[in-house]
Symmetry: C4
Subunit: 233 residues, 4 copies
C-alpha cells in the first residue's frame, strides 16, 4: 500500500461529493435507455483541482457505488480508487486539459445517435428541441481508436466549431460535454431524443432545416431564459 | 414579500386541488413515454376563475410537487408560486382566453408525433382508434417561436376547423386540449399511440383513410357511448 | 335495486374466480406494452355456464379490481357489476356463442400488429416463433364497426380457416382466442412480438415463408410437446 | 420415486450454485427486453462434471426459482428436477459436448437480432461496439428444426470460423456461448444492442465495415485490457 496522493487528502470532501454525483448520474443513463450492460460512462472534474472522477471499467451499473468511482489526474492516471478506470479515461482527461470550461464528459452508445454516428452523418437541426439544446446540427467527429487520447482530441476539435455540447464520433457513439455533470448528462439524453425523432421523421420524407434566424432565437432563449433563474428557497 | 393576489386567497381550495391534479398528471406523461428530461408540460384552468396552474420551467419531473406548480392569470403572469412558469405559459394562456370550453392544455415532444410535426404532415385517419379519439386526421399547425402567445394562436386557429383535440405544431411538437386535465392528457397519450401505429403501418405500404361515414359513426359512438355514463358508487 | 340474476347467485364462486383471473391478466397487457390508456380488453367464459366476465368500458388499468369486472350473458347483456361493460362486449359474446371451444377472448391495438391491420396485410410466417404459436400466417379479418356483434362475426369467420388464435381486424386491431384466459393473452403477446420482428425484418429486404412441412412440424411439436405436460407438485 | 442420480448427490453444492446463477440470469434477459412470455433460455455447465442446468420448458420467467431449473446430462436427459427441460436442451447439450471451453449457452428471439436472422443476413461490423464484443460480423447459421441436436450442430459449426460468441440461426433467433453464464448473457444482450443500432443505421444509407486492422485492435483490447483485471477486495 503506497501513501495516498496528497491531492486526494487535501480535497477529500470535494472528491467525495463528486464521487456521489457521478455515481448517481449513471442511473440517469440507464433510466433514459442510453446504455446497455456497461457501455457508457460519466466523468466530472473535481472543481478547483487537476483531478477528475470517472466510472470504473466494465463494472455493471447496479454495482456502482460512490466508492467504486476512480479518481484520476488530468493525464488519466488513477490516483485513488480500488478499480481500473474506464477505457475512455485518456480521452475524458484530454477534454478537461483542453477545455477549462468543461466540468463533465459523458459517453454513450445510445442507439439512435449511434446509428447516425455509424453513417458518419450529422443530425440536421429540423425541430425546435434541437435548436434549444444544440443550437444547430449535432456534428460528426473523426473515427479514432479507444484507449489513448485520440478520441478526446477528435471531440475537442469538432466541438470547437459548434454550439453543440454533443458530438457523434464516427463509427463509435456519442460524447457530450457540460459545465456541470447534470448539463453533460442532459445533453446525452437530449441527443438520443432528437436523434430518434429526426430518424423517424426522415423515414417518411425529406426534412428541411429550421431557418438560421429561428435557430439563433430559440437557442438564445433556451440558454438564457428557460428554467429557473433565481429560486426563492 | 408582496401581499398575495386576492384571487389566490379567495380560491385557495380550488387552486390546491388543481395543483395536485396537474402535478400528478405529469407522471402520466412520463409513464407513457411522452417526455424526455423536462420537455413537456400540463396546465389546467382553475374552474370558475381567470387563473391557470402550470408546470414550472425546466424542473425535472421527479422534483415536481403540488406546491412547485405555478399559478398564473390568463395573460400568463405568475400570481402565486416560487418558480418561474413554463416557457409555454403565454401560449397556454392564449388558449384559455380564446376557448372557454377548454379546461386543460398539454404540450409534449413525443417522438412519433413530433416526427410527423417535423415534416409538417397531418396524421391520416386510417385506424378506428384515430376515428374514436380524434374524429379524423390530426392536423398540423404553423411554425411559431416559443415565448409569447404565437404558438397558442396557431393551436387555436388550427383546432377551430377540426374535431381533433390534438395539433402537431410544425417543426416543434404536440399540443392537446381537453375539457378536463385527464382528457387533455389522454389526447396526448393517444396522439403518440396513433402517430406510432400509422408511422409503422406506412413503412410497408400505402394507407387508405377510413371512409368518412365510418369515421363519423365511430367518433360519435366513442364520444357519446364509450366509458361509464352513470356509475353507482 | 333489482334482485340478482339467479345464475349469478348459483355460480358465485366460479364467477369470483374468473373475475380475479380476468382482472389480473389485464396487467399482462400493460406489462407487455400491448395497450395504451384504456384501449384493450380481456374476457373469459365462466366455465359450465352461459356467462362471461369482461372489462368495464373506459376504466383505466390501474383502477381495475376483480369487483369492477362486468358479468354478461352470451348475448352481451350485463347481469352483474356496477359498471357498463366494454364496447366490444357484443363481439366477445358472439365468439363464445359460435365457438364452444373458446374460453377467452382478448382485444388490443398493439402497435406493430395494428400496423399490419391498418394495411390489411397478413403477417407472413417467416420465423419459427410464428410457426410454433400460430401455425402459419396471422390472417386479416374484415373491417367492421364497433358496438354490435359484427366484429365478432368477422373474427369467427376468419379464424375458421386458420390454425392461428390471432386475427388482425382490418383498420382496427388484434383479436385473439384461447381455450383459457392465459392462452388468449399469450396469443396477443406473441402476436405483437412476431408482428414487430417480421416488420423489422422486412425493412431491409424481402422475406420468404418457412416451408410448409417445417411449419407443420414446428406447430405440432409446440402444441403437443412444449411446456410442462405433467408436473409433480 | 427412483433413487437420485449419484452425480446429483456428489455435486449437490455445485449444482445448487449453478441453479441459483442460471435462475437469476433469466432476469437479465427480461430486463434487457430480449424475451417475450417464455421465449428464451439460459443453460450452464456444472463445472467439473458432465452435467448442465437449464430452464424448464414453457415456465414463465416470474415463476422461475432455483429449484425449478432442470439438471440434465450432456446427452440432454433430465437427471434432476420436477419439470421437463427446455425444448432446446438437445442443442445446448450438443454445444457442451463439442466445445469443452463453453460454460454457458443462451437462446433468445430478441427482436432486432431475429429480424436479421429472418433474412438470413449477418450483421456487418460497422461500429466499435461490435468489434469489441464480437470481433467482426455476427454470422448466420443454418435453419434447423427444434427438438433434437440439429440446432446445436449448426451453432457449433458456424461459430468455429468466427470470433463471435453469437450466431443468428436462420429463420429462428439467437444463440450465444460464453466461458461463464454472465459472459453468454452479456453476448446475447450486446447482440441485440448492435443488431438494433446497425438496423437503424442502415435505414438511412449504406454502411461501411470498419477496416480489419481496427477491428482486430479493438477486439484485442476489449478482450485483454477492458474491465477489472485484478481487484483488491
Amino acid at each position: 500500500m503506497t501513501a495516498p496522493d496528497p491531492r486526494v487528502v487535501e480535497h477529500a470532501d470535494a472528491i467525495a461529493s463528486v464521487r456521489r454525483e457521478v455515481c448517481a448520474l449513471h442511473g440517469e443513463l440507464l433510466r433514459w435507455n442510453l446504455v446497455t450492460w456497461t457501455s457508457g460512462n460519466v466523468s466530472a472534474r473535481v472543481p478547483g483541482t487537476d483531478l477528475m472522477v470517472i466510472k470504473p471499467s466494465g463494472v455493471s451499473y447496479e454495482d456502482l457505488r460512490p466508492e467504486s468511482m476512480v479518481v484520476c489526474d488530468l493525464e488519466g492516471t488513477a490516483v485513488d480508487g480500488r478499480h481500473a478506470p474506464s477505457s475512455d479515461t485518456g480521452s475524458h482527461a484530454h477534454v478537461y486539459r483542453a477545455r477549462p470550461d468543461v466540468g463533465a464528459v459523458v459517453h454513450t452508445h445510445s442507439p439512435y445517435a449511434t446509428a447516425w454516428a455509424a453513417r458518419g452523418e450529422p443530425i440536421p437541426c429540423v425541430i425546435t428541441a434541437m435548436a434549444d439544446e444544440f443550437g444547430g446540427d449535432i456534428p460528426v467527429g473523426p473515427f479514432a481508436l479507444i484507449g489513448g487520447a485520440e478520441i478526446g482530441e477528435g471531440v475537442v476539435a469538432t466541438l470547437e466549431d459548434h454550439r453543440s455540447p454533443a458530438v457523434l464520433m464516427h463509427g463509435h457513439g456519442v460524447f457530450t460535454i457540460g459545465a456541470t455533470p447534470t448539463a453533460a448528462v442532459k445533453a446525452a439524453v437530449m441527443c438520443e431524443d432528437v436523434a430518434r425523432t429526426v430518424h423517424l421523421a426522415r423515414q417518411h420524407g425529406p426534412l428541411e432545416r429550421l431557418p438560421q434566424e429561428h435557430v439563433d432565437a430559440l437557442h438564445d432563449r433556451y440558454q438564457n431564459v428557460y428554467g429557473q433563474r433565481t429560486e426563492t428557497p
